[in-house]
Symmetry: C2
Subunit: 105 residues, 2 copies
């Protein structure tokens, strides 16, 4: 995984933070498929993810409409319904990215 | 580490994503001290972090002014100057959090 190469601001981000429940319960397979589908959505700009004690996944999007459309994706909706099987707790934060800087080498 | 307990939206987030350079070079000690100082800053609301292939740290703030003041903190500025010793690449994204939802159990 590399850092997401996002366009000039403004664009949007969804920060998904979570603590996993015990057991896999099909989680690994679902997560891979959800990401594969997200990458195919209109307005998808990039994805970054890491997990230690907590998991943080950030997806980047061109607009709030693109985020809303992805939330309504049929497979994604099925996955959302199973959240209680996979997560002890989770938070979703929808953000407008105002400014970006950094260094790539 | 638990998920950050943030107030009602809107508030602000800084998403810091990075790929580490080889060697510690004082990184661990600096990172712990930077976080300790951030927690004491006015407007600091919470912090979440995880690292695998990439590192993702998200800090939450009450305003853009609080973020700007933290960026100017003397020790934090010294740490920023040493970024090239610690990171192969990094991105900083300053965001306005528009919406938050989720479940805690």
């Amino acid at each position: 995984m590399s850092l997401a190469a996002t366009p000039p601001t403004p664009y949007f981000a969804v920060i998904f933070t979570s603590i996993r429940a015990e057991g896999d319960e099909g989680y690994g397979e679902m997560a891979a498929h959800v990401l594969e589908l997200a990458r195919q959505q209109p307005g998808f700009l990039g994805f970054e993810s890491a997990r230690q004690e907590i998991g943080i996944s950030v997806s980047y999007w061109s607009s709030l409409e693109a985020i809303a459309a992805w939330k309504q994706n049929a497979f994604h909706r099925e996955a959302q319904k199973r959240a209680q099987d996979w997560y002890a707790s989770f938070r979703v934060r929808v953000c407008r990215v105002e400014k970006e800087y950094g260094e790539r080498r």
